[in-house]
Amino acid sequence: METFATWVSFALTLCILSFLYRDNPLYKFAEHLFVGISAGYYIALAYQETLRPNLVDELARGNLWRLIPLVLSLLMFTRFSKGLAWLSRWPLAFIVGMYAGINVGAYGRGDLIIQLEATMLDFLHGGWGGVSNFLLVAGLAASLIYFYFSKEHTGPLRVVSRVGIGFLMISFGASFGYTVMSRISLAIGRARFLLADGTIAAILVAIITVILVVWSRRTRSRPGEST
C-alpha cells in the first residue's frame, strides 16, 4: 500500500511539474484532483475539528446556548434568497465587529506603539551602531515623505522623496530575495521527495515524457494552442 502511495504521489508531482513544458491533460487531471481532494478534506476536517466538538456534541449534551451560533451560521445562507439576503448581514456584522475589536487593540499595542518606540533611536552615540540607527531613522523619514502627497514634490522635498524611493527599493529587493528563497525551497522539497526513490521517478518521468510527446504531436495542428 505504501509503495502504491509513493507511485501515486510521484506521478501526481510530475504531472503538476509537466505544466512547465506546457498546459496539458496530465496537469489538468492532477490540478482537478488536488482541488477536489482539498475541498473534501477541508470539509471533513471542518466538521470533525470544529462543528462536531463545538456544536453537535454540545447540543447533544443539552447546551442550548449553541443554538445561537447555529442560527447565525444558517443566516449566512440567506444570501441565496433575494428577499431574505438582508438577514445575512447579522452574522457578517458579528464577525467583522468581533475581529475589528480584537485587531484594533492588537495592532495598536503590538505594532503601532512598540514599532514607533523602536524607531526612536540615539544616532549621535555608539559608533557604528549609531550609524546604523541613523540610517534606519533617515530611511523611515524619507520613505514616509515619499508618501506625503499634500505638497508637490519639488526642491528639497523631491530630493528627500527620491532618497525614500531608494530605501523602498532596497526593502522590496530584500523581500523579493526572500520570496525567491521561499519558492526555491518548495522546489527543493519536491526534488528531494522525488530523489528519495530515483528509480520510480525515472520510470515515471519516462512515461510522462512519452505521453506528452504523443499528445504534443497530436495537438500540434490545432489552432489557438498556447505553449
Binding site: T50, Y107, G110, I114, E117, S185
Partner: protein
C-alpha cells in the same frame, strides 16, 4: 554579436531556463558539496534563549504550518524538538492551522521524543491539537488554556493529563515558540499575546514572511527568529544536527547564482536589443 544569434537569444524559449533551473536544484542534491553556514545573530539569539531556560521549564509551542511549508519549516521543527528534549524542557503543543497536527505527530516520531529521549506523553509533553478561531483562540488561551482545549488530540480530557495541571495561562509558560507559515502565526501572536501578556517569544517563519517579522526581533518583541530554509539551516548547525535544511542550502546557493545570471543576461539582452533597434 551577430544579429541572428542576438535575435535567437532575445526570444529564448523559457523552458530552457526551467531546465537549467531544474539542473541547478537536482545536481547539488545528488552530488552535495559542503558549504560553510554562517550563523546570524537572529538565529543565535533564538538558540541561546531556549538554551538559557532552566531544566524542567514548560514551553508553549504553536505549530502553524501545512504541507506546503514543510521544506522550510519542518527542518526547524525537528531541530527544535531535539533541543527541547536535550534541555529536558517540557512542552505543550497547540495548532491554529488544521493540517498541522499530523505533521507534528510525524516530527514527534522522527525525533523520537518517546522512544529515543524517553519523554512521556502527558507528563513531559502534551499535544492538544488544532482549534479553530485564530486570534480568538489566542485570547482565549490567555484566560484559560484548559477551557480552550478541554481535550488533547487523542480526546483525553485535560483534567486527566498531569502536565496540564501545572499550566493554564500564558504566565505559566517560560516561553512561546511559534512555527509559522503565515496567518495566524507570528504576527498575530506578537500582536495579541506577546504585547499583551509580555511572554518571551521566539519562532520560525517562511522566508516570504521574514522581512515582515524582522522588525519584531529588532524591537525586542521576539528574542530570536529563523526565517526560511536558511534560518533553519543555521539553527541545525547550532543544534549540531545538520539535516535537510543544511543539505538544501547548496541547491539554494546554486539556484540563486543562476537567477542572478538570468537577471544579468536579461538586462544585457534588453540593452543590446534596444541598441540594435535604434
Amino acid at each position: 554579436m551577430p544579429g541572428a544569434l542576438l535575435r535567437k537569444l532575445e526570444f529564448v524559449d523559457r523552458r530552457w531556463l526551467f531546465l537549467m533551473m531544474a539542473c541547478a536544484i537536482v545536481i547539488p542534491l545528488i552530488f552535495p558539496v559542503p558549504l560553510p553556514i554562517a550563523v546570524t545573530d537572529m538565529v543565535q539569539d533564538l538558540y541561546d534563549s531556549i538554551e538559557d531556560l532552566p531544566e524542567g521549564s514548560v514551553v508553549l509551542v504553536s505549530v502553524d504550518y501545512d504541507p506546503t511549508g514543510k521544506p522550510e519549516l519542518e527542518p526547524f521543527h525537528v531541530a527544535l524538538f531535539h533541543q527541547i528534549a536535550r534541555k529536558k524542557l517540557r512542552m505543550v503543543i497547540v495548532s491554529l492551522w488544521s493540517p498541522a497536527p499530523p505533521l507534528t505527530e510525524q516530527v514527534i516520531a522522527e525525533v523520537g521524543l518517546e522512544t529515543t529521549y524517553g519523554m512521556e506523553r502527558g507528563v513531559d509533553f502534551v499535544h492538544l491539537g488544532f482549534k479553530e478561531g485564530r486570534q480568538i483562540v489566542m485570547e482565549s488561551m490567555g484566560r484559560s488554556l484548559r477551557q480552550t482545549f478541554p481535550v488533547d488530540r487523542d480526546r483525553t480530557p485535560v483534567s486527566e493529563i498531569p502536565l496540564m495541571q501545572e499550566v493554564d495561562k500564558y504566565d505559566d509558560f517560560a516561553m512561546l515558540i511559534n512555527i509559522s507559515a503565515g496567518s495566524p502565526g507570528v504576527k498575530e501572536y506578537v500582536q495579541v499575546v506577546q504585547s499583551q501578556y509580555g511572554i518571551k517569544m521566539t519562532g520560525a517563519c517562511t522566508a516570504v514572511s521574514g522581512p515582515d517579522y524582522v522588525p519584531y526581533y529588532d524591537s525586542g518583541q521576539m528574542l530570536g527568529l529563523a526565517a526560511g530554509m536558511k534560518g533553519a539551516a543555521e539553527y541545525e548547525v547550532l543544534v549540531g544536527l545538520p539535516g535537510s535544511a543544511t543539505a538544501g542550502m547548496v541547491a539554494q546557493s546554486t539556484t540563486h547564482l543562476l537567477l542572478v545570471a538570468f537577471i544579468v543576461f536579461g538586462n544585457v539582452m534588453f540593452f543590446l536589443a534596444r541598441k540594435r533597434r535604434s
